[in-house]
């Protein structure tokens, strides 16, 4: 499906990204850097925050540079730790723009929510947002748990969704952190929602290199890895679609204060629309593999997409 067809696109983006490195200087400069100390007057600074998570910082930096390119002045407050802390700052207006994730944020505001699927979660999130906090458009890009198989295994049994695992004629062993064994989205959920029987073996590295190795060795056939994890691409893995919502949908979603005006919202929404799970993985990979700074990754991507020239 979409996942597979976009591999080509990802490769193209990667090539373009490399080609565009030289142009980063033009947008790297921060026009507001000199007059941060409240010059007052017309343009207010928008404060952009991010989680203490490299991928979140990259997205925030993309917002920042895109806004700066349209002559907004921004202040960067990246790498804020806990959701408990920064959500308070968003609510009281000391942060104006923040890349968030739909499911976890909804569960923060409404711990008892039953919404799990992409659109249900988004609608509930819009309703749950407190006064003065607006939820902009959610992006197709996700950062959530997902069931993955190797490309060969997916090809052999023609797998697209988790339900297709029912076609598999061999035994399936799921390898993941041990807590998944007793969680509703583990083997029990696979059986209940998809009619798929799996064995379980614990691998306590959270979908890291040991899990990937076990997949490639055929010791396990099914694993849980984050949709935004670059190792999905580098190891040629395939994310299985989860139409029943075993895993809480967690799409990238910008959260904005009232000070983010309609034009700025339109800019941010266009970024969200352009970002796919594959692109997010590609951006993350540049941070993980190449150790590129967020500012460079953001500038390159904005130049590639033509959103900032």
């Amino acid at each position: 499906m979409k996942q597979r067809m976009t591999f080509g696109a990802v490769a193209a983006v990667a090539t373009l990204t490399l080609a565009a490195c030289g142009s980063s200087d033009t947008i790297d400069a921060d026009p507001s850097a000199d007059n941060t100390a409240g010059t007052g007057g017309g343009s207010e600074e928008l404060v952009i925050g991010s989680q203490d998570y490299y991928s979140s910082e990259i997205i925030a930096e993309i917002y920042a540079q895109a806004l700066e390119a349209e002559d907004y002045s921004v202040q960067r407050e990246y790498r804020i730790g806990q959701r408990e802390i920064y959500v308070g700052e968003i609510e009281d207006g000391s942060i104006d723009l923040f890349p968030e994730y739909t499911g976890p944020l909804l569960q923060f505001w409404e711990p008892d929510t039953e919404a799990r699927l992409m659109d249900d979660v988004y609608d509930a999130l819009v309703t749950a947002a407190p006064q003065g906090v607006s939820i902009l458009d959610q992006s197709p890009a996700t950062d959530q748990d997902s069931y993955v198989v190797t490309q060969e295994f997916a090809d052999e049994y023609d797998l697209t969704t988790i339900a297709d695992l029912a076609n598999v004629t061999q035994d399936i062993t799921l390898g993941a952190n041990s807590e998944l064994e007793s969680r509703p989205n583990g083997p029990d959920g696979l059986k209940e929602y998809y009619g798929v029987d799996v064995g379980f073996t614990p691998i306590e590295d959270g979908g890291g290199p040991l899990t990937v190795k076990a997949l490639q060795d055929g010791d396990i056939q099914l694993a849980v890895i984050y949709t935004a994890d670059p190792s999905i691409d580098t190891n040629n893995l395939v994310t299985l679609e989860d139409p029943e919502g075993l895993f809480l949908a967690s799409h990238v979603v910008p959260v904005a204060s009232e000070r983010v005006d309609a034009d700025a919202q339109a800019i941010i929404n266009s970024i969200s629309a352009a970002m796919t799970p594959e692109i997010l993985r590609e951006l993350n990979a540049r941070s993980v593999t190449d150790q590129s700074p967020a500012a460079t990754i953001a500038a390159d991507w904005l130049a590639d997409t033509g959103m900032v020239s």
Binding site: S178, E179, I203, L210, K213
Partner: protein, 217 residues
């Protein structure tokens, strides 16, 4: 204390002892892994240590190797081994054998080497061959020390064999990891208590064996 009480309640529940993931099975797996690891460590380290002690040579090398091996973090070693060998029981066994070798090696070397030279000299003087000195004088005299090394290795392995559950469906570590990751602290504590009790019981058995070996040498 509520957590401890809940852990004890969990342990007292007979239902938790039965079945392929029950305590009895996990306990058996844990002891099996420990036995395999200690046996392999003895097989590898005992001959080298005894030989070096008997020849009175290579002591510095053995102390050096044992010291370096002690400094290796077992979890790191396990991850490396699993990346090379894949998941399952082999990688943890390799990592645990490396953990178990230093105490066995040290004890084998020093147990033999510290037998009084006057005693071995006397044995030679009455016409014993080098092999006879080793088998009939040095080894019997060193037995309590050798057992001490095996005892120390076994206790370390019992405690650390919980890591086998890092990459395989094995042993008491399953309760500890499951409890840790799911914030199920009673389960975590129950698993830890089981490991502690196993370690104490096995240590007591070794203490008896060591005393017996002192009396009968």
């Amino acid at each position: 204390m509520d957590l401890l009480r809940e852990a004890l309640v969990w342990l007292a529940d007979g239902g938790n002892w039965a079945g392929p993931t029950g305590i009895t099975a996990r306990l058996g797996e844990h002891l099996m892994v420990t036995a395999i690891v200690v046996a392999l460590a003895c097989l590898l380290a005992m001959p080298i240590g005894v030989w070096a002690g008997h020849r009175g040579r290579g002591g510095d090398l053995i102390v050096g190797i044992a010291g370096a091996a002690r400094a290796l973090p077992t979890l790191g070693l396990l991850t490396l081994a699993a990346l090379a060998l894949g998941i399952g029981l082999v990688a943890p066994v390799v990592a645990l054998v490396v953990l178990a070798i230093p105490p066995v090696l040290n004890a084998a070397y020093s147990g033999i080497a510290t037998v009084q030279p006057s005693v071995t000299g006397a044995a030679r003087a009455v016409g014993m061959s080098s092999r006879q000195v080793l088998a009939q004088v040095q080894l019997p005299l060193a037995t309590p020390v050798l057992l001490g090394g095996v005892r120390s290795a076994t206790l370390q392995v019992i405690a650390t064999a919980t890591l086998a559950a890092y990459t395989s469906n094995t042993g008491l570590g399953r309760y500890i990891f499951a409890g840790l990751k799911a914030n199920d602290y009673p389960l975590l504590i129950a698993g830890s208590l089981l490991v502690v009790v196993v370690a104490l019981v096995v240590d007591a058995l070794f203490a008896v064996a060591q005393r017996f070996s002192v009396r009968h040498r």
